[in-house]
């Protein structure tokens, strides 16, 4: 069957002339054979051949039938339809251009968003067998603390549990790279030696760490990124013989990772690692016997044993956790309820953008759908114009299915052209579009127009072609021949059904775009509210510049080992910066003190950020979360940011390394830990052995320095002169220019210590704005889509009303002739249009209620049912509908009865 079919197919398409020739000869030989027989009955040869030919019948007809019997009939029909479709499109280029452009924009935008979603969410992580990779997250639900990290003994237990192929803690840090032209800050990831084996990636040259190296301290080797190799080492091919100094310690470079290799991290900082260093997390400079309850390894990743599912591994981990808790009861208090979760690694990398991306795809999909509805409307109008053509073809014997197929082919042709044009737009705007994507989007560099994206575009094209082609095609099939043919040359007045379909389409369009507008409105309001929250501090004319003090492995050579060693440097730097021209105030804090700085958030830098502590006189196991944000700052910090002191005092020059440690807390902290009590004089301490008690000396007003969205996050400030800090932020207030001040500060820092890197001059306003980047991106995109949708819906209703008016020209003429006033006519037309708009808006409002609840977590400050947004959008819609209907209505008003009546 199959080979015979393909031979037959080949006979039709590839050996056409051979087939023709054979057929000709076969029929000729038939007639000759018949003539031979007739001759034998006694006829003359000429007469015999004549008789044979007559008996045979018309050969052309039979030849045609034979050709039709060859395989692949449908392909011929398709080609015929395509040729005809192309001819029809060439005949109305304006129509074709409008349709193709609408579809191109819709498909282009949908495909663009899909390509982002594909890269971020759908594609597996670019490591070997990524489904076996998990992130290990330890929680202490009893303390309300999540993702608290693991201790070195816990890591060993997990590694030896038999559940995992490899487990590696990862520890993000910044470091000072010296030895090249000027000291640079680099992003360092401290990992276990098995890290690269765990991910299943190889350096592009050199080698990775030996996964079985368990020596104490840091392995004196590093692997560097392609970016650092190019930037700091000028793509030196002999890099493996080189060494680098990080925080004055010497490391040999053993490997360079390939370009495009990103570490699996939650934030952009954590993904764009420049240097990897390895250790087994014990031995100098780390503790020789790390205690079990010191969870100083902030994150850990692991590769499951082959064949193990995450669920199966999780239940084994649960068993392990239970037995460890029994074995080391002293280290695991029952109330803390220590648990260990395995989360797919991809979830950790992309988990927090999923909702935004899905929302965006939904929104752009709606725009495409609305575009399709518009095109369907255009096609319906055209179908009216082509009614006679269709009727004639029917009358000449074309079956209904054939006409439907013809029209569907035409609309598929349009949508495929649209898809191609959309991809062309996408390719040409690719560079520009990628700039719009916020930099902190995970897997940004993996965005590409891949095969799956192309396949998506193709499917979307075909689906939209069918979507907008179906209604007109089906209606063409159900044509009333008699009626259509009688419409002598004139545009046939829309059958009742066609008009109904068009109205339904406009209603759908309105409903869909209203849903989008409401979503956009809610996001806009959230964003607006966020922009206008009372910050509680003043970011105006403040610039932050960063530097970092080294932390060498040998504390003996650390110039800044203790707070008292560091304090003179900090004091001198403040003094020098204050003398710079234009500078009015200077304060220095650790980088956690930069308000709303997102770049290092979620990284749990060593000795920074979140702080686990005990309050004096209360159990650790209180109801409160005992993890709060804390930062170390110099005394002028509060005045510089304009955060007012409410009670007690701020830090002063008398607080130093030799006096008891003091803290300033914010009001939220005071209220949640010492409600109805005077917090001044209360004490707390870090939840680790040997930590000193810290006394609360002052309470400041709440400020949104941690999160724009949350007003009352507890916050602890410690005195920089008492605690010290490696990562420093120099805050300067005054009429300053960011780039210029960075150089001036760099000079001052160099004058004090030429090995220190200076980076990242940024105004606080920029920092605040950057913290909104992802929100802004979703909001801008959705708003853009919603406006497009609104425009399309307006055009849709305009088209339909214009069409109805032109159809009713004659009727309007009669009405006018019979004495109807022009305002009567206006009212009739407007009523028709607004009726559609109102029904559409009502349907849309109901749908919007559902959608807005789904996106509740993306909102800030507005409820998903925010009546103001709903009402405003609904009014905007009616407004657009009025404008869209008014234009054709005015035309209707201006109808000249004489002309209209003669029109027929």
């Amino acid at each position: 069957m199959i080979p015979a079919y393909f031979r037959s197919l080949a006979a039709r398409f590839f050996r056409r002339s051979q087939t023709e020739h054979d057929l000709e000869e076969e029929l000729r030989s038939h007639i000759q054979l018949r003539a031979d027989d007739l001759e034998r009955f006694g006829l003359g040869r000429a007469e015999a051949e004549r008789r044979a030919r007559i008996e045979f019948g018309g050969p052309e007809q039979f030849k045609e039938e034979c050709r039709d019997e060859l395989a692949g009939d449908f392909i011929d029909v398709l080609l015929q339809d395509l040729r005809f479709g192309l001819r029809m499109l060439r005949k109305s280029p304006g129509f074709a251009a409008v349709v193709i452009l609408t579809v191109a924009l819709g498909i282009g935008a949908t495909t663009a968003i899909f390509s982002v979603l594909d890269a971020a969410l759908l594609r597996p992580l670019p490591y070997s067998q990524p489904e076996q990779l998990v992130s290990i997250q330890a929680d202490l639900p009893g303390l309300g603390a999540r993702d608290v990290g693991i201790s070195q003994p816990e890591w060993k237990d997990l590694q030896e549990s038999g559940i995992f192929e490899y487990v590696s803690p990862t520890w993000f840090d910044e470091n000072n790279l010296t030895g090249s032209s000027q000291p640079a800050r680099v992003r360092l990831l401290i990992v276990a030696p098995n890290y690269f084996a765990l991910l299943g990636v190889e350096p592009k040259f050199g080698r990775a760490f030996d996964p079985n190296d368990h020596s104490p301290g840091f392995i004196p080797e590093v692997v560097i990124s392609d970016g650092l190799w190019k930037r700091a080492f000028g793509s030196d091919p002999n890099i493996q013989s080189k060494s680098v100094r990080m925080d004055t310690d010497l490391y040999r470079i053993v490997g360079v990772m390939p370009a495009g290799f990103d570490a699996p991290g939650r934030t952009a900082e954590e993904r764009n690692i420049e240097i990897w260093a390895a250790t087994s997390f014990y031995g100098a400079p780390l503790s020789d016997h790390p205690p079990r309850n010191r969870r100083n390894l902030p994150t850990a990743i692991a590769r499951l044993k082959p064949g193990l599912t995450i669920a199966a591994a999780q239940s084994q981990v649960d068993a392990l956790v239970a037995s460890l808790q029994k074995q080391f009861a002293a280290d695991y208090s029952v109330q803390n309820a220590w648990t260990v979760r395995l989360v797919p690694l991809k979830e950790r990398v992309v988990g927090n953008v999923r909702q935004s991306l899905v929302l965006l795809l939904g929104a752009v999909g709606l725009v495409l759908l609305i575009g399709c509805v518009n095109v369907a409307n255009l096609l319906l109008a055209r179908a009216s114009a082509r009614g006679r053509e269709m009727a004639i073809r029917r009358a000449l014997g074309a079956p209904q299915a054939r006409l439907t197929r013809q029209l569907l082919t035409e609309s598929l042709l349009l949508s495929l052209f649209g898809g191609i044009a959309g991809l062309a737009i996408l390719f040409s705007l690719k560079g520009f579009l990628l700039q719009l994507v916020p930099e902190n989007l995970p897997r940004l560099n993996e965005i590409s127009i891949s095969w799956s994206v192309l396949l998506f575009a193709l499917i979307v094209s075909v689906v939209s072609g069918v979507l907008f082609g179906l209604a007109p095609a089906l209606q063409a099939g159900r044509l009333d021949l008699n009626h259509a043919l009688k419409q002598e040359g004139r545009v046939s007045t829309g059958s009742g059904e066609r008009a109904r379909t068009r109205r339904a389409l406009v209603i759908t369009e309105f409903a869909l775009s209203l849903v989008l507008m409401i979503a956009a409105g809610l996001l806009l309001r959230s964003f607006w509210d966020l922009l206008n929250v009372q910050l509680g501090f003043s970011p105006q004319s403040v610039i932050s510049v960063r530097t970092r003090l080294p932390a060498p492995n040998d504390p003996g050579i650390d110039k800044y080992a203790t707070a008292s060693q560091e304090a003179p440097f900090v004091r001198e730097l403040i003094r020098r910066c204050a003398t710079l021209s234009g500078v009015e105030e200077v304060a220095i804090g650790d980088t956690a003190s930069i308000p709303l700085d997102e770049s290092l958030r979620d990284l749990k830098l060593i000795s920074e950020g979140q702080f686990l502590f005990k309050v004096e006189g209360s159990d650790v196991q209180s109801d409160h979360s005992t993890v709060v944000e804390r930062s170390s700052v110099s005394p002028d910090y509060f005045h510089l940011l304009g955060i007012p002191l409410l009670r007690g005092r701020l830090f002063n020059e008398l607080d130093n390394d030799n006096t008891p440690q003091v803290a300033v807390i914010n009001q939220a902290m005071a209220q949640s830990y010492w409600p109805n009590e005077d917090p001044l004089g209360k004490r707390f301490k870090a939840a680790k052995a040997g930590a000193p008690w810290i006394t609360v000396v002052g309470v400041i007003a709440n400020a949104r320095t941690q999160s724009l969205a949350q007003a009352d996050l507890p916050q602890i400030y410690l005195d920089l002169y008492q605690t010290g800090a490696k990562r420093l932020a120099i805050l300067l207030r005054g009429h300053l220019h960011a780039a210029a001040i960075a150089d001036e500060v760099r000079e001052q820092v160099r004058a004090l210590d030429p090995t220190l890197p200076v980076s990242g001059a940024e105004t606080l306003n920029e920092t605040v704005s950057a913290s909104l980047a992802q929100r802004r991106f979703s909001m801008e995109m959705i708003t853009l889509f919603a406006l497009t949708a609104l425009l399309l819906a307006g055009l849709g209703i305009y088209g339909v009303i214009s069409y109805l008016v032109s159809e009713r020209t004659q009727e309007i003429g009669i009405r006018l002739a019979l004495g109807a006033s022009r305002s009567n006519i206006l009212r009739i037309v407007l009523r028709q249009g607004l009726g559609l708009a109102i029904v559409g808006a009502a349907v849309g409002l109901v749908c919007a209620l559902i959608v807005s609840h789904l996106m509740a977590s993306l909102l800030y400050g507005v409820r998903p049912t925010d009546p103001l947004t709903f009402a405003a959008v609904a009014f905007l819609f009616i407004g657009v509908a009025v404008v869209a209907c008014y234009l054709p209505a005015r035309r209707a008003m201006k109808v000249d009865p004489l002309v209209a009546l003669r029109y027929e």
Binding site: M1, I2, Y5, E26, F56, F62
Partner: protein
């Protein structure tokens, strides 16, 4: 000629398969064979044979080859494939069942019901 019956729709294919089952035939030979085995009772318009032959070839029931006819003319010969043979057997059985059923229906007497 007056006794020639119109073909029932769909039976031409069956007749062709039957005609060819005895040995390879060219188109005209198929006609003659059908006339012969049906006792000249069935009327087939000569040209109408060819679309049916093409269809059977497409379905893989017949295969073709060019050869010399008995009176030395080049002609296209049709031959049954094994699939065609199987189809002929099935269709023959089906046809016989149908004929038997219709015959028995038509032979029914009022008292038998």
């Amino acid at each position: 000629m007056d006794y020639e019956a119109e073909l029932l729709p769909g039976t031409l294919d069956l007749l062709i398969l039957k005609a060819v089952s005895i040995g390879p035939l060219h188109g005209y030979g198929v006609l003659l064979r059908i006339a012969q085995i049906s006792g000249r009772a069935l009327l087939i318009q000569q040209g109408a044979l060819y679309p049916a032959l093409f269809r059977l070839v497409r379905q893989g029931l017949l295969k073709t080859s060019w050869d010399k006819s008995e009176n030395n003319r080049r002609a296209k010969f049709y031959e049954l494939t094994s699939k065609g043979r199987k189809r002929l057997r099935e269709e023959t059985e089906g046809w016989n069942r149908l004929v038997a059923a219709i015959a028995s229906a038509l032979a029914a007497q009022p008292q038998e019901i």
